[in-house]
Symmetry: C2
Subunit: 216 residues, 2 copies
């Protein structure tokens, strides 16, 4: 509360305002707004009101709504650190381990608005779409499929991405039952084998068939 | 062209305007706009300009943007007719048959803007979200899982829905490679077994095998 007042006063008087705390509060407010309304439905004015700061302060820190979005969507989780952890352990359990890791991460209060905001925004905003494209086909999933070292790493990463994003959309954005309220354990058992096959299985691109393969 | 003029004139003079043709042209324009911009980014004025009619005509026919959306999203495909066709034939090929049917349908020029528009709009608009929820967990997919008659029909339908919608998002909305340009045959081979397991397999809800292979 007194933070808000201080931040507003600081902006008016031109002093540098409350630093990390204020910036963090703006980012929290932005994440909530992008999560609830998506990119198009979010305004800097609305984020400012939610954070209890002057809109000018947001312009000062972030410049534009798009840069605010990029800053707000920075995941507070080190996904790179996940890869060795997932690859360690029995190969045949890697699908289930990934599904469990992903849902446990997504369902922490700091991450959930991010994933929802990203899906909500990516369908209409180009910057968000690029971020989602990265998340689906590059980034940590591609690092994981490279570590697993099977052919078609990029295809595998993107297939895993489609299943996980489809689940995020169904569970968090449009709330489809029974998925929306299924325990994570149920999701792990239902979806783990899908992810396992995408990561390590035969995607039937040639290696499967008895008759000679025409492609790839 | 003369249609446009006629329609505008008809509106101005209060006569009933150009009927099915005009209505169809408005719906085509609406589908394109919802597909490109989503619900929030679409305006009745923009749809009118695209269709070459007076905005008043759209209000006259559809009342509101939301009702225009609902009318525009009516799929020109009889999905109910698909169920017996998919269920006929070898049970173990049903996953691949569904994936092929879905992508061949989605990629017809009349349907593609619908699925893109629905995904683009469902992330922010409640009516579109309800339609997507229906599509994912009820409607034709639930009819299919009921026809297949395995336990957990609703869970199976919604899991199939998440994988298909995740693919639509990746392939059509954010254009993730290699999925965006993969031939349908490749998608069928890569994703068919996932859908097969969701439709007919053991989802490991208690009945799971102790040691044997978890897949297929």
């Amino acid at each position: 509360m007194s933070h808000d007042v201080a931040a507003r006063r600081a902006t008016r008087t031109g002093r540098r305002p409350g630093s990390v705390d204020t910036r963090g509060r703006i980012l929290d407010a932005a994440r909530s707004s992008f999560g609830e309304r998506g990119f198009e439905g979010t305004t800097i004015r609305g984020v400012a009101a939610r954070a209890g700061v002057d809109p000018a302060l947001i312009h000062h820190y972030f410049g534009s709504k798009q840069r605010l979005f990029v800053a707000a969507m920075e995941f507070p989780v080190d996904f790179a650190a996940m890869v060795p952890r997932l690859v360690a352990g029995p190969r045949e359990g890697i699908g289930e381990r990934l599904v469990r890791f992903v849902f446990e991460t997504w369902e922490t209060p700091t991450v959930r608005p991010l994933i929802v905001g990203l899906v909500r925004s990516a369908t209409t905003d180009p910057v968000a779409a690029t971020m989602l494209r990265e998340l689906l086909a590059a980034g940590p999933l591609l690092a994981l499929t490279h570590a697993i070292d099977r052919p078609d790493a990029r295809l595998r990463a993107s297939l895993v991405g489609t299943q996980l994003i489809g689940l995020a959309l169904a569970r968090y954005v449009v709330a489809v039952e029974p998925l929306a309220s299924a325990p994570i354990d149920d999701l792990v058992r239902a979806v783990g084998p899908t992810i396992q096959r995408y990561l390590t299985g035969d995607l039937a691109r040639g290696e499967a068939a008895p008759a000679a393969d025409p492609e790839d």
